[in-house]
């Protein structure tokens, strides 16, 4: 519902961007942010946060390039995603075992991973010099405007929505975020749910990173900085409650599209990019407030 209000407002404001070319390029950026946002929403619904997604995005992308340059892109793809899964697992374990809020735990891993990346690369970019298999599968233009990543984005929206809404596991996710205590009382292994969702979130962030990197064919260490806030904003715009227990995958994806349109709109209007950042902050607060109001009265 929060989505509808904002969507209508912004599509009115940004109707001038409605050319096919521009919409497709928005979709390209949106697919990468959106895949990350899906993971974030999946985790937020289970009642946890992950600020480290932006660093996982960059780290996995880097790892992919380095591995692909040595072997082949397919093996590199799977190995890099496995590392992302391990990072998600560690995020989950820290949150659960140390009993600290995931907000803090993942702020730690975000800075840690980014620091490692900067340290290892010395701030230099790395070029992709490997086969064309993964770039073809992920990002190379299919038609004049559209890329495979657009399709993967849509496929992931569908799969993750089905998991969330139509499987027992999805029911446990909602319950874990809605009331961890109740979920546990009713027999749900809430720690397991959280760890799995942390892993899914990290893998999707890593996938988004690899997609972006096959598009640019180069990575630098500042890659994806602050993207975690965009992803959280997307999820929240899409109706996901900050407090967990409620939200939707489709909403998060639509939220990411709004963020993409906003960024594109501001760039087209010639505004410096820090205005976009200011907007992200503002939107986050407004959307979260609207969500809370809607839930409390409805």
């Amino acid at each position: 519902m929060a989505f509808l209000i904002i969507f209508v407002t912004f599509s009115l404001l940004s109707s001038k961007f409605a050319s096919l070319h521009n919409l497709a390029s928005i979709l390209t950026v949106t697919s990468e942010l959106g895949i990350m946002s899906i993971g974030i929403a999946f985790l937020m619904i289970a009642g946890e946060f992950d600020l480290s997604v932006s660093s996982v995005y960059a780290f996995t992308g880097f790892l992919f390039i380095i591995l692909a340059n040595r072997m082949n892109s397919v093996a590199a793809f799977f190995m890099a995603l496995m590392v992302a899964a391990v990072i998600g697992y560690i995020n989950g374990q820290i949150t659960i075992k140390a009993k600290i809020p995931s907000f803090i735990a993942t702020l730690g891993t975000m800075m840690f991973l980014r620091g490692i990346l900067l340290g290892l690369t010395g701030g230099n970019s790395v070029l992709y010099q490997s086969d064309n298999i993964m770039p073809h599968i992920l990002t190379e233009y299919i038609t004049g405007h559209f890329r495979p990543s657009h399709i993967w984005f849509i496929v992931l929206i569908i799969i993750m929505s089905i998991i969330l809404k139509r499987t027992p596991y999805g029911n446990w996710v909602f319950a874990t975020g809605g009331s961890e205590k109740v979920a546990r009382t009713m027999g749900v292994n809430t720690n397991r749910v959280k760890i799995i969702n942390f892993m899914v979130c990290a893998v999707l962030a890593g996938l988004a990173g690899i997609i972006a990197i096959t598009r640019f064919r180069l990575a630098n260490a500042a890659f994806g900085t602050r993207m975690e806030l965009e992803a959280i904003a997307s999820a929240v715009i899409g109706g996901t409650l900050m407090t967990g227990g409620f939200g939707s995958i489709l909403g998060a994806a639509l939220g990411a599209i709004i963020m993409g349109m906003l960024r594109s709109g501001l760039v087209m209007a010639g505004a410096p990019s820090y205005w976009y950042e200011a907007f992200v902050g503002l939107i986050l607060i407004i959307a979260a407030t609207i969500n809370l109001k809607l839930r409390n009265t409805g």
């Binding site: 089905i162 499987t167 029911n171 909602f174 319950a175 109740v182 009713m186 027999g187 227990g245």
Partner: protein
């Protein structure tokens, strides 16, 4: 003699930091019996049953279920063994629908190849049935629990516990926050459940609430068992008197 026992808890101890919530409590539930667990607020009633249904772990003591040692480490395992509980705090997730709450942790599934999907049709149909059985008026099982009144939530939680084929039904303060009519509804359900041969633990701090359905009372006071009374031996006034006096009773059963 022992064959009659469904639950046998022996010498149960539980501390919360410095608070000794349970001090060597013995507790028995026979088959087809409604046990009223009575005691003032803070007596340790909820703590005792939370140990039985896997929410808490006793510091020491033994538990037998159907004459076999009950070693459970989670509520999931307790539910698998046929122990269904309506907790004082009801165990409903407000941000979820009635149907989703009904089947939380025991979701019916529909297999498609390797994948298990929620059987939504069954969930909605059965939830609708339960809503009808417990006599509350909501439009649909897709309503969120957050819009229900205290009494309606109570009814849903009890309906859920009775829906799954339990061997033991535990009701922790089930009449709290209910209107007289709703109370009568719950008591009728307890009678139905007993007629099906299911044992019930009915927890209350008010003997009058429990009196009509209970076969035997167990009194708990400040973490210790104060005694047991068969219903036919006492009037509710006498039992209330014992509860408030806190005196130890000679064991009657």
């Amino acid at each position: 003699m022992k064959e009659e026992y469904l639950v046998e808890m022996k010498n149960i101890n539980k501390n919360f930091g410095a608070v000794k919530a349970l001090k060597g409590v013995d507790f028995i539930v026979k088959k087809r019996e409604v046990v009223g667990l009575l005691g003032d607020n803070g007596a340790g009633k909820s703590t005792l049953i939370k140990i039985l249904c896997g929410v808490l772990k006793a510091d020491s003591g033994e538990i037998f279920f159907n004459n076999k040692e009950l070693s459970i480490s989670s509520p999931y395992q307790a539910r698998e063994k046929g122990i269904e509980t309506v907790h004082q705090e009801l165990s409903l997730v407000n941000t979820m629908t009635i149907a989703r709450n009904m089947f939380l942790g025991k979701e019916p599934i529909r297999k498609v190849g390797f994948f298990s999907f929620l059987d939504k049709e069954t969930m909605n149909r059965e939830a609708r049935k339960v809503i009808g059985d417990v006599g509350i008026k909501v439009r649909s099982p897709d309503e969120y629990v957050s819009i229900l009144s205290g009494g309606e939530r109570q009814a849903i939680a009890i309906g859920r516990a009775m829906y799954f084929d339990a061997k033991l039904l535990i009701l922790d303060e089930p009449l709290r926050a209910l209107s007289v009519k709703e109370q009568k509804n719950v008591l009728d359900h307890v009678n139905q459940v007993r007629d099906q041969g299911i044992s019930v633990i009915f927890i209350s701090h008010n003997v009058y609430h429990a009196y009509s359905v209970t076969d035997r009372f167990v009194l708990l006071n400040k973490g210790e068992k104060q005694g047991e009374i068969l219903k036919e031996d006492s009037t509710p006034e006498e039992i209330a008197e014992f509860v408030s006096s806190g005196e130890k009773l000679s064991k009657i059963v």
